[in-house]
Symmetry: C2
Subunit: 350 residues, 2 copies
Amino acid sequence: MQVEVKVKNPYKVFINEGLNLNFKGKVAILTNPKIAGLHLKNLLEKIECEELFIISVKDGEEYKNLSTIEEILNQMCNSKLDRKSLLISFGGGVISDMGGFAASIYQRGIKFINIPTTLLACVDAAVGGKTGVNNHFGKNLIGTFYQPKAVYCESAFLRTLGQRELSAGLAEFIKMAIIFDANLLDFIEKIDAKNFLKAQCEDEIFIKIIAKSVELKAKIVSKDEKESGVRMLLNYGHTFAHIIENETHYKSYLHGEAVAIGMNMANHLSYELGLLSEEECERIKNLLQKFALPTYYKIENIHEFYQAFFLDKKSANHKIRFILPAPLGKGIIKEDVPKSILLKSLEHFI
Amino acid sequence: MQVEVKVKNPYKVFINEGLNLNFKGKVAILTNPKIAGLHLKNLLEKIECEELFIISVKDGEEYKNLSTIEEILNQMCNSKLDRKSLLISFGGGVISDMGGFAASIYQRGIKFINIPTTLLACVDAAVGGKTGVNNHFGKNLIGTFYQPKAVYCESAFLRTLGQRELSAGLAEFIKMAIIFDANLLDFIEKIDAKNFLKAQCEDEIFIKIIAKSVELKAKIVSKDEKESGVRMLLNYGHTFAHIIENETHYKSYLHGEAVAIGMNMANHLSYELGLLSEEECERIKNLLQKFALPTYYKIENIHEFYQAFFLDKKSANHKIRFILPAPLGKGIIKEDVPKSILLKSLEHFI
């Protein structure tokens, strides 16, 4: 199936539609050693172009930084890519974030395509044109809005994923359900967790998860490409998650795992504000735990944790913005949370 | 006077209109130690805002690289700038290129304003939204198209410039004359070089130079913001200049000086192709020399020099594109130059 993302330069997300690329000009594939070993042979059979280059960078969120970007740009220069060349990001969210960013600043911008190989990248990172890297101040603080020319999701790639990666991807789908569509929660609760976490569920399950996420995300991004309004809702759980990821130097949690904890934190805040019932909080916590996702993180220094909110990209003019479920199935942007209530909700995590 | 640049988000260039900024939110001024010492006091008297930060980075094209960008971004993070904050680039072309780039990738893009303090930045770098940095492969290979919200040119700043900086700025104006308007050549030839090079010419001379350049550039950029066509003409002299700057590690020549040599090289090529007469070549060479600009560079390795053309951003699909005057007052894009003729024209410089 195909989903169109109606931004200024519209593009399509192809889900299990097969992949055949014929490109006039040079192509560079950005990937990492693990993905390359598993799936590159398969991908190469489906690409025809004038000249091909493979750029392989270290795996993991802790390497999503400016120095890896410099390495990628140097390899692009060394391959003499020009403004008509194409970059393909072939990997998970880390690869698509960095590939999009590198493409957006190489010679002031060249074309790129995303071929996500993780569930998280399929349901979230590869679609919507947010690119970027982390620095020691925080997550994704450096980057651009830069849309791909196309995205190709293939469920076959997901069959080699480990349990943690599948859980992490599902976390972003649970996020979508909580802020946009409570019916999806029923669907998720019915998924056989054991099969799913071994990547042994039916293809239909993967396809429904990807298709629903992409449809919802495409709708939001089409309305608000540069996150000045409704797109902020997609940040549910992320305000907390980014701080956790930064405090743990991007080494302890996969992004989706941190988002799972972040959603539980946001729910506690929502509860303290009277926007969510205790039962609703429990329901989500149980759902996350059913899919082997963490829901707890020990905050060492509550003052530092609080200060870090001000570096969140949604914050402006000394105001912190939270995305909260109110109730399940509907996300709202809340910017007047009293400090005392925020701290009280964080005290569950000290 | 005011000139509008009619890009997607239009903005104005104010020339000697005075400067008074009142900004709700945080402001960071990016500058260098020399400019700050000369002019910052003056600027600060004209800015009101919620919170102010000064970021001062090393002076010179050889520091226009990703590591200085990282330093700037770290200082922006440390100052907790948010998406509603403003960055002001206060300096020459190096500062406006880097400030624009940093603004374009900080939190996926914040507002910026250019206040150029060199003639070159007034007539060229500060207007048009090209941002970027160099790497060891070449000049401006990394960057974005990202337009400022406004540009303020004040001739008062130019009074402290040294001779080389004034000459370098004039080189870009001579470029404009050669590709767009031969009448301007008559005007330039009549300028009293001695006074001009001591920054002792009348204000009217500065204003005419800036106004004419900005008008011409605004027209071109409005037609072709992202350089897919006519904007390439502004690269006259630059195809050669960028290689010279890179070979000399951005240390020997100011950008405008390298452009002067590059124009002379382009003219030699134009002559070899029968597009320019010997007299026209001589006329420009004399004009450049009248304003103390270099016109000769010794090419050490003609093969390496030739190979470097392929990393020029205008090159694509193995074709080098040259901007050539044909004749004076009219620039053309030429992409089928035989290698033998190109090498013959370069032999004047070995």
